[in-house]
């Protein structure tokens, strides 16, 4: 809009400045010659800017091109007058105010056009760059998510297969049972790849299948208590809950040889689904930091999905390790 107003103002000024010439024949002639000269100039400026070398600052380059073309335009204009109206040229050149005004107008028009072209070109370049950056970000994000998902599965799968191998030798019927559960688990794993948001009920069902497999692997040592959640209508992104549970199992179950209780509770409040998972843990055994891959991955994933870092919290006390997840609803 501003560009249009500026263009209109310039055109008006451009027309008006010829009125300063009192002779009617000269006025007409000058206007035609100048318009022609300026028109050709514009075209040349556009070409020059298009071949813009990217190492120089865009405004500086535009000003340089504009100034050079101001000189060319003024010179050409003078040559035109001298060639076609030789008797007039002397008078014209001595009419200093007109000459200065003309030169000034050329200066403004050429520089202004040059800057417009340059900005347009710069904008185009920036847009291209931005589009590429967005592409890169997207593909990075996808790759990262894919990797995070991949990292969740293999060991669990290998260990489960090993348990099946053992069961085939000692209790073939239970091996069949285990294969059934593992297949259920894998089937929903594959299915959920395409879905980003899951109903919490589905996710709980998935988690329960997962726990059923762990129960076969670890026998009576694993005891999981669920509180609330069965009638909650909420959604959760895939692969958020499982790593937290894996972590609870890793530090709870894998961290001891005794019986382990993992507590799991859900609540929905103010469009925020809160999930709390707690497991026993022995601080004297765990080496300082090292929340393990699972939780860092979850934190990262929550950040990628919601752009917030406050959605996961972990609390360690002497016996319990608690992870609190907050999942915003309807965003």
């Amino acid at each position: 809009m501003a560009a249009f107003i500026a263009l209109a103002a310039l055109t008006t000024l451009y027309t008006l400045h010829f009125l300063l010439l009192t002779n009617a024949r000269m006025l007409t002639y000058c206007a035609v010659a100048d318009t022609l000269v300026i028109g050709i100039n514009m075209w040349c400026i556009a070409l020059a800017i298009k071949a813009y070398p990217t190492t120089v600052s865009v405004l500086l380059y535009a000003l340089a091109v504009g100034t050079v073309f101001t000189g060319i335009a003024s010179f050409l204009f003078y040559r035109c007058i001298k060639l076609s109206l030789p008797d007039f040229a002397g008078a014209f050149i001595t009419a200093k105010p007109i000459w200065i005004l003309l030169f000034g107008m050329h200066m403004i028009i050429c520089n202004w056009m040059a800057i417009q072209f340059a900005l347009f070109k710069k904008n185009e370049l920036l847009e291209k760059k931005l589009a590429r950056q967005v592409d890169i970000d997207n593909s990075l994000r996808d790759a990262e998510l894919f990797k995070l998902r991949q990292q969740l599965q293999p060991h669990f799968l290998y260990n489960s297969l090993n348990s099946i191998a053992a069961l085939i030798a000692i209790q073939p019927e239970r091996a069949q049972d285990m294969i059934g559960k593992l297949s259920d688990f894998l089937r929903s794993s594959v299915k959920r790849e395409s879905e980003e948001l899951l109903q919490i009920k589905e996710e709980l069902q998935y988690i329960k299948t997962y726990l059923a497999i762990e129960t076969i692997r670890f026998g009576d040592r694993l005891n999981v208590q669920f509180a609330g959640g069965t009638d909650i209508n909420a959604t959760i992104p895939s692969f958020i809950l499982q790593p937290v549970l894996e972590n609870a199992i890793k530090f709870g179950l894998y961290g001891t040889t005794e019986q382990v209780s993992i507590r799991f509770s859900l609540s929905l409040d103010n469009n925020m689904l809160t999930i709390t998972v707690s497991n026993p843990y022995d601080p004297s055994i765990q080496g300082g930091k090292g929340t393990g891959f699972g939780l860092e991955g979850t934190r990262r994933r929550l950040y990628l999905l919601y752009g917030r870092t406050d959605l996961m919290e972990t609390i360690k006390d002497q016996q319990q390790f608690t992870t609190i997840l907050k999942i915003p609803q309807h965003v």
């Binding site: 293999p154 060991h155 290998y158 260990n159 297969l161 090993n162 348990s163 099946i164 191998a165 053992a166 069961l167 030798a169 000692i170 076969i216 692997r217 670890f218 026998g219 179950l253 894998y254 961290g255 001891t256 040889t257 022995d282 004297s284 055994i285 765990q286 080496g287 300082g288 930091k289 090292g290």
Partner: protein, 246 residues
């Protein structure tokens, strides 16, 4: 008759090993353990000839357990994790069985050990190079034997480490502990983001560093938050500068 010990936290895994071992009457399972602590005790009690060792286990992992044993028996690792293969290789393992493994693969490992045990020859390890993955699994704790009990020292408790003949002295606020290993071993196993080998005989957690003062030509002294003073070599100084981005 050889004595065999099974150390794995999953009962089913041990059952599978026993099942496969049934084909070898000359091997008898003397004990089964579900974690590294129990494994360590069983090794001291039974002096087995061969152990099957899982790596990821409660309380004390397989490698940490091996570090505590003065004369470790022959080891065949059994794990679902392939990222430890290079470490197992360094621990002179007979073999590295990736779960789930089939009977043939198991037999190969045991046959190799039997051959070695009967001929007293050292066979080439069967760990293939493609199985060897760079480990990014640094330890964040050190395990030591202390008055015949096992003590786990988290890295955050360590003030500094000092080489002491065949031992490394681990200094903490609760006193110091000796571990039979070299400082270079700990340099490799501990997280290099946390610990810096500042001298031939010293390694410090960088967070312990309070300030550095010149000492003699080419050497400095580091003052630690705990009040201790530790020698810093020319090399050590540049390492610290690198880590702290001076």
């Amino acid at each position: 008759m050889y004595k065999v010990l099974l150390i794995d936290d999953e009962q089913l895994s041990r059952e599978l090993l026993k099942n496969y071992l049934a084909a070898y009457p000359q091997l008898s399972v003397v004990a089964e353990c579900a974690d590294g602590f129990a494994g360590f005790k069983a090794i001291q009690e039974h002096h087995p000839d061969l152990i099957f060792l899982d790596i990821q286990m409660p309380r004390l992992n397989g490698f940490e357990m091996l570090e505590l044993v003065d004369e470790p028996p022959a080891v065949i690792f059994t794990t679902a994790f392939d990222e430890y293969a290079i470490k197992a290789f360094e621990a002179n393992a007979i073999d590295y069985l990736l779960k789930p493994f089939v009977k043939d693969r198991f037999n190969k490992a045991v046959d190799k050990w039997l051959q070695q045990a009967t001929n007293h020859t050292i066979a080439a390890p069967t760990i293939k190079m493609e199985e060897v993955v760079a480990p990014d699994t640094y330890q964040h704790r050190i395990v030591v034997k202390y008055n015949n009990t096992i003590r786990i020292i988290p890295e955050a408790d360590i003030q500094y480490l000092e080489a002491n003949d065949d031992y490394v002295k681990i200094v903490t606020a609760d006193g110091s502990f000796l571990k039979k290993c070299t400082l270079s071993f700990l340099e490799q196993t501990l997280d290099p983001q946390v610990f810096a080998r500042v001298h031939r005989s010293y390694m410090i957690p960088v967070t312990q560093l309070q300030r550095i003062e010149p000492y003699e030509k080419d050497s400095h002294i580091a003052l630690l938050h705990c009040g201790a003073k530790v020698m810093v070599s020319k090399n050590g100084l540049s390492k610290l500068k690198n880590m702290l981005g001076w």
